[in-house]
């Protein structure tokens, strides 16, 4: 069911815009009182004119660089923030106007902060959620059991959050977000700062609930691997604007098959040696700047090992690194294709 696009969307955003006022309030009581009456000094447009529709059971990757506007969008979708203009409807209601109603059907996890009580054992926070969402005891036990199978959280439940590592905390936070079987899960950077093993566990978990429950997942991230493993649709936001909305395969077909090779140099390269390398088939310079040469390589045309060897032969290399392309290069090539 999770690949279907159902006719009536579950989440609908129309011309969503959020502008923040930035104020510099002065210290002290006088400053505080003045802050009450004075207006804004400046405004920041965080999200502008974003429209989309998401059907039930979809897994949507919401990707963009830091500061692109992902969290702001998520906060409007969850009803935390009121849009400056435009509208959001989730299952027919406006989240920020019906927070309690909307709250029942959503689960939310933020990688950068915990929803669990810092001072008391995780199990107690779970119990509180059971009361808040009125989860029947058997459903609750079943969920804890199942989440434990995927995330291995059982040994953590007796520990207060402040004594957990980031990865352990995130696993518990994810479990907390799904305890009440939400229809929609909004996950904002759930893998940020985690090691590879913890990232994999988090991704496996999200996949699991989506498949088992048909939970609609909106996953905001700047890590392309998150969505590669989880999502069937990608929306790319850049500087507050939606620049891509479509199937995931397309991005990866077009961009992600490329590898990035980075040479850090001890001395500036000669133009001829750079040319020799960039003229290899499927090799494109992304950045050539003094002591840095960054190349995109299509592995179907040239083996990355050949390109690396050519670089080591021709350039005065201090350091060499190889990586999958980041969101930056995907966004860049989207712009280039649009402009050309």
């Amino acid at each position: 069911m999770h690949h279907d696009r159902v006719n009536s969307p579950l989440i609908e955003a129309e011309c969503l815009t959020k502008t923040y006022r930035v104020r510099r309030s002065k210290p002290g009581l006088v400053g505080a009182l003045r802050g009450l009456v004075s207006g804004a000094d400046q405004t920041v447009v965080a999200v502008e004119d974003v429209s989309f529709a998401i059907g039930p059971g979809e897994t949507v990757g919401y990707i963009g660089k830091n500061g692109a506007g992902k969290s702001t969008t998520i906060k409007m979708l969850t009803g935390i923030l009121v849009p400056t203009s435009g509208s959001v409807t989730v299952a027919g209601i406006e989240p920020s106007r019906n927070r309690t109603e909307n709250g029942k059907r959503i689960g939310v996890a933020f990688g950068q902060r915990t929803s669990l009580n810092w001072d008391i054992p995780v199990r107690e926070s779970f119990r509180l959620l059971r009361e808040i969402y009125r989860i029947p005891v058997d459903a609750f036990e079943r969920n804890v059991q199942m989440f434990n199978e995927v995330l291995g959280i059982e040994p953590l439940l007796g520990t207060p959050v402040r004594k957990l590592s980031l990865g352990q905390r995130m696993k518990c936070d994810l479990a907390a977000a799904f305890l009440h079987d939400p229809e929609i899960a909004y996950l904002d950077e759930p893998t940020i700062g985690l090691d590879v093993v913890a990232k994999d566990a988090v991704r496996a978990f999200i996949n699991h609930v989506n498949h088992e429950r048909g939970t609609t997942v909106i996953l905001a991230t700047h890590d392309l691997q998150d969505i590669e493993k989880i999502c069937n649709r990608a929306m790319i936001i850049d500087a507050g604007h939606l620049v891509y909305d479509g199937p995931l395969e397309q991005i990866f077909d077009r961009h992600a098959l490329h590898k990035e090779i980075r040479f850090d140099l001890r001395s500036e390269p000669s133009p001829q040696s750079v040319d020799t390398i960039t003229q290899m088939p499927g090799v494109e310079p992304l950045e050539v700047d003094g002591h840095l040469v960054l190349l995109a390589v299509d592995p179907a045309q040239s083996a990355t090992s050949d390109v690396a060897r050519a670089g080591l032969d021709l350039l005065d290399v201090a350091d060499l690194s190889l990586s999958d392309p980041g969101i930056e290069s995907v966004v860049k090539s989207i712009y280039e294709e649009k402009l050309s």
Partner: protein, 265 residues
């Protein structure tokens, strides 16, 4: 029942409060020191007098102890907890819960004070009784009305803290406002000096402010200084302030969330 969710919130807060047992011990100690100091000041003031402004020394002693017990239910951080969550952005998690925000904060506020307040209250009242000759409630009716008035005073105090806490939606420096509010409450509630000792004009002002419902009203009911119809009227005034300020709190909350700008990821 939704009430279970709020009760659970309160219980969890109480649990957290209990993990900080040190503050309980220091609360009792500093409390006793404060009472001792005030007690000896009043003894000096009463030198050669048997009644001042309608208070005998024993009534004054009782006032000290009962008002201290009341104060213990308030010294806690409803405002700072609300405002720090607004500032650090964790208010997000409160906004997505299917709960009424104001009710939820009230439940937490109760949870965080009740255990500590009752424990400190019992210890301090016992000391007052045994060592300082503090009297019990004037009559059984006064005792029952005192308990009712105590509950109302908790609600008044919460309603004020809630309003003050929400100021952080408009201002990043709530600290000064919270501190000024504490001084105002301390003074106009009668926690420092009974209102009967105020000059007439100041007493009139205090009469028309909500703060006296926090300390003065329950204590004068306890002492039997108001009884019968006047006692019921005092309880009604407390209740009226709760309604007014609760509604004001709800209105300000609605306004505040319209312009909320959550910080951080």
């Amino acid at each position: 029942m939704a009430i279970r969710a709020y009760a659970a919130l309160g219980v969890q807060r109480a649990q957290v409060a209990l993990t900080y047992r040190l503050s309980l011990a220091t609360g009792i100690l500093t409390g006793l020191v404060r009472i001792l100091v005030l007690y000896y000041i009043w003894r000096v003031v009463y030198q050669g007098e048997s009644v001042l402004q309608g208070f005998t020394l024993q009534e004054m002693t009782t006032y000290l102890f009962v008002s201290f017990v009341l104060r213990n239910f308030y010294s806690f951080q409803t405002e700072t907890s609300i405002s720090s969550k607004i500032r650090d952005g964790s208010v997000s998690f409160e906004l997505i819960k299917p709960l009424n925000y104001q009710m939820a904060r009230f439940a937490e506020s109760l949870g965080s004070v009740v255990v500590e307040g009752v424990l400190i209250g019992i210890v301090v009242a016992t000391v007052g009784w045994i060592a300082f000759g503090m009297s019990g409630p004037a009559t059984p009716v006064a005792a029952a009305a005192f308990v009712a008035s105590l509950v109302l005073s908790l609600m008044i105090n919460f309603a004020i803290c809630f309003l003050v806490g929400l100021v952080s939606f408009w201002s990043t420096s709530v600290f000064g406002i919270v501190n000024s509010k504490r001084l105002i409450v301390e003074f106009f509630s009668g926690a420092l000096v009974p209102l009967a000792f105020f000059p007439a004009w100041l007493r009139t002002i205090a009469q028309w402010l909500p703060f006296r419902g926090i300390v003065s009203t329950p204590v004068i009911i306890y002492l039997g200084q108001v009884s019968g119809e006047r006692m019921w009227a005092e309880l009604a005034v407390q209740a009226a302030w709760i309604v007014v300020m609760w509604l004001a709190g709800a209105a300000v909350w609605r306004l505040a969330t319209r312009r909320l700008e959550v910080n951080g990821g």
